[in-house]
Symmetry: C2
Subunit: 342 residues, 2 copies
Amino acid sequence: MAIKNDLFLKALQGKTVDRPPVWMMRQAGRYLPEFMEIRKKYDFFTRCRTPELASEITVQPIRRFGMDAAILFSDILVIPQAMNIEVQMKPDFGPYLPHPIRSKKEVNAVIVPDIEDTLGYVMEAIKMTKEKLKDEIPLIGFAGSPWTILCYCVQGQGSKSFDKAKEFCFTQPEAAHTLLQKITDTTIAYLKAKVQAGVNAVQVFDSWGGMLSPEDYETYSWRYIQQIIDALKNEAPVIVFGKGCWFALRTMGASGAAALGVDWTCSPQNARYLSGGTITLQGNFDPARLFSPPAEIKKRVTQMINEFGKDKYIVNLGHGILPNVPLENARAFIDAVKEYSE
Amino acid sequence: MAIKNDLFLKALQGKTVDRPPVWMMRQAGRYLPEFMEIRKKYDFFTRCRTPELASEITVQPIRRFGMDAAILFSDILVIPQAMNIEVQMKPDFGPYLPHPIRSKKEVNAVIVPDIEDTLGYVMEAIKMTKEKLKDEIPLIGFAGSPWTILCYCVQGQGSKSFDKAKEFCFTQPEAAHTLLQKITDTTIAYLKAKVQAGVNAVQVFDSWGGMLSPEDYETYSWRYIQQIIDALKNEAPVIVFGKGCWFALRTMGASGAAALGVDWTCSPQNARYLSGGTITLQGNFDPARLFSPPAEIKKRVTQMINEFGKDKYIVNLGHGILPNVPLENARAFIDAVKEYSE
């Protein structure tokens, strides 16, 4: 079935559009009062695992703001969970993995699971969301990059430096690569199943790639993302978002990915230059700039579009929307794009 | 008095050297057992405020490893403390400011203090350290950048995104600039007093500059650092270290700073290119790479020197040394530089 609003898919194909499409990372999130209502009643993983809830949460921001793409409500840590690694989501703390992986033996105990058995609930949520969206706009599925997933599996929680994750890689590189390959294999099967279930594009979040030197990025992160792109690109457009990964944009631009997400430290000019100038880019409004007054947000969004250019461009934030952003400010961001004309 | 080992000062002047100088950010730190001995007995601010302790801690790594420069043991948060903002150092938590600054009224209550009255203990520590160093090697003094200090003053603690600090700037820009100017004025007087007391160079740490977009970096961070450089450059060489600030290296290179610190996401080639190719650079070994075996550390350090080039270069880490780095690994890092020959 054709998607009625195909701005997002056209941008991924590099086609000319009247205005760029817009969505926001973490758009189904805590800044929305209707999300907070559901959050009061159900804990994090119940929301992820219950297709009725996940699909409802996914469409909430679309109903309110009318973005040009929806992204399935879920979490990157459903992957280690499916791989038999315990993941808890602690209130006011974030992810907590009580048994972090720090040895070859622990890596060997990690399984590459059957996706339908372990993550079938995600596919149900996709089908239910597709019904709700009625082919009005495309649906994005996502996964964490293998490196980013390893960071949590080894560190056991969030971190400013992920020093334990890096120590593990640099002292036990063989075990690290075994773990990364298991995560990669699981992720490829997972994303293929998502496409099968109906998502129109997939995004890989390399949230912690920017913690690595360019050489270590190639070794511990990029080569696994490239495997994912190679396995998926003929099934659906692949977007790669590497936070802080400006130094890898050239490699990413030649990878077969359909688009690259960039953060706000990379100016539009730098992003175009570093990525080779031909690939579709997505980003990169500083999420904290949504605290500016609505009129200023609109001015800045228009300027951002002018600098990226309206084609081969998807308007987004440079990272997830912050929980305490006022609704009218989020609306100003979306509306500025819809009102855009050259 | 001439400093006997002048490798560091020569590198800051851009002069030819036989091998580059080496020191490590946070070299007087928790990876040293002799530091941990003192840490057991005295709390954080006692160590900062007692010249006997601060000078002893400063020379500990020199005694053990023989770096080419010492850096005075202190903390960037002594500045807000002197400005009458309460700063606590909580064990297992880090800095905590119980009364964060969030309004114009609170900004107006912040004082620009008399340096001798409030920070005289730092000058005493410098004099005592100079006596201990006996002009063998130069002594570096430091301060946080005004933006980085504002981050703590407004956020009230460390943070991954410093969202509250940025919200303050983007919703109350006038109050933010008033606060930044007060911090700048204090910092300039502080660093001048340090030079007067005997430090041979100063380093400005912009630890959180990389949280800002290039445009906001210019507005909220760089213009204040430039004021510091302008005020100090004729008194002592100024090193600017901006973590994650690759996008500002061109501006920094033309600022009058004597050297620029770079982190490990910036390859030597990129760092030379982005900074304009003529200024002395300092960095940029990934602190987590000190977990590699000593032989591999040595190989990587040699390669790093070859890529930066031995002249106009100061070997360092790309951020502070991590607490759990083995002593023999730290030694391998220093020794690799001392053993370097083209």
